[in-house]
Symmetry: C2
Subunit: 307 residues, 2 copies
């Protein structure tokens, strides 16, 4: 089954203590769509300026991503610049230029309207709602969000939460949204705001998944020695998650499917941070993904007690 992915498409400048690269492919939709594409066909929705390199378009196409919904308009592509500290968990945004993204009005091509899975990657909740308005009863809707929208568009975000099956956000955002220190309470409180499922990402500490009737899954992060660029890890996670879920193609989404989708999302994210931008995704294979999935099992499972 296909996944509709909407979000930002950007050109990023990323600085770490060791390297700096300019005008890299970035944006939530880029990471999410490419992450999904390892499991399912993707219908992408986004906007770029007329300066957007053709090579990036070709990369999307080569990954079997349908670009009928990617608008190219006169002007410059959205640009973001950020810097990571020696502790790569700490990031500072150096500049943001919305450019053509400022007036983005996501219009779904007719061919996208019946896409069965939707991943509303990180963009304003007004745009996420607008995309949902154009879809015909998708089977499963996942939304990502961030601090900015909790601060400046809370009502619109709350309206969105009533319409989606699942929300993905990080731990500080979950605490911010609920004013709860306990992530367990925060997750449950977000479920009460609408989504049946909530995934709380904890960066290097993995992810918590909250389901119905107390269903709960705690997924560790892959133990990486070196992280070269954490940009897009969350978007890649969401993409891998939604892509795997769409590929399971069952009558209804089960919690066992969601557990596996969380692990696959984590596998994709763990690879993505090994290189800048989406570079690692260019060489990643199905066998790599399978290998690290098995790795997750090896380092997180333990025996039942015999004695």
């Amino acid at each position: 089954m296909s996944v509709l992915v909407v979000g930002s498409v950007a050109l990023d400048t990323v600085k770490t203590p060791f390297e700096e690269h300019a005008d890299l492919l970035g944006g939530s939709a880029s990471y999410a769509a490419v992450g999904s594409s390892f499991f399912s066909p993707v219908n992408m929705v986004g906007v770029v300026g007329d300066d957007f390199p053709e090579a990036h378009v070709e990369f999307f196409k080569a990954r079997n991503i349908n670009l009928d919904g990617l608008q190219t308009v006169p002007g410059k592509t959205f640009r973001w610049s950020g810097e990571y500290m020696l502790d790569m968990n700490v990031r500072e945004t150096r500049s943001v230029a919305l450019n053509v993204f400022e007036h983005f009005n996501p219009a779904l091509p007719a061919s996208y309207a019946e896409t069965p899975f939707a991943l509303l990657a990180n963009i304003g909740p007004n745009l996420q709602n607008h995309v949902l308005d154009q879809m015909k009863r998708p089977k499963f809707i996942v939304a990502d969000t961030m601090d900015l929208w909790i601060n400046i568009a809370l009502d619109e975000l709350k309206r969105l939460l009533k319409r989606v099956d699942m929300l993905i956000l990080n731990d500080s955002e979950a605490r911010h949204l609920t004013k709860q220190t306990s992530l367990v309470k925060a997750g449950q409180q977000i479920q009460a705001m609408g989504p049946r499922f909530v995934a709380v990402k904890k960066g290097e500490h993995g992810c918590l998944l909250f389901g119905e009737n107390g269903d709960f899954f705690s997924c560790c992060a892959y133990p990486l020695e070196d992280v070269h660029d954490p940009t897009g890890a969350g978007d890649t996670f969401a993409g891998g998650f939604a892509g795997y879920l769409a590929a399971t193609n069952r009558g209804a989404v089960t919690f066992a499917d969601l557990r596996k989708a969380v692990v696959f999302g984590s596998v994709l994210a763990s690879y993505n941070v090994e290189q800048f931008s989406l570079e690692r995704m260019r060489t990643l294979t199905k066998a790599d993904i399978q290998e690290r999935y098995e790795g997750f099992k090896l380092f997180s499972h333990f025996e039942v007690i015999e004695d």
Copy 2:
């Protein structure tokens, strides 16, 4: 098999945003010994003043803890006072009075010398080394440590690391000791300093276990909605860990045993923080422990891929 546990025995005053209690049973040896006692007989080594309540002594005895090595000397028992913020991960020490602990010289009763397992709970590494000097070839030695000793007794700590099978410390301490941001690199670097095994505790995010030849285990924390008093969680973890390991009573310690020991340590710690001091340990049963061990499996395992 028995576990020798050496560490501090204290009377704690603990304040949280909701409650404050004075003169509670505390100290690393108290938590660790009681944690171990759920699995194995314990030989305790410590010191208290003549003000130490008889009721605490009776509690230790009731838990099958041998107190031949618990010295009672004239003066006051070690006192610690701390305060937790609304985010219970943040703690401030309000006061410390070493009292009789200042001149503590752990002397092992002859009957303790051949104890097969040793848990050197958190005390100065000079004292930990002094205890090892008095032991006859223990099968397995676990040591806990803290920031203070990395700051003021690094050489003595390094000497200790060459003598122990395993070090337990928390994530900030591992980073502090190695100057590494990556916990994976930090764990490996500590192994290179001596211990074959290293456990890095991450509080609400669980624990990483590093073994030989790249063996690795990542254990989630139990998803608690409410934490009433985090004091002693790490010591209880170490106690449950060492107690379970001693109880397995095999020829050699395997990594599979260590994985299970980490889960049992985490189970014990998850119960301990539900009430102040060691109160929860008074009512805890084997069935409770078993139930939460199974719970850890339910929320951390996922299926192998069939498709």
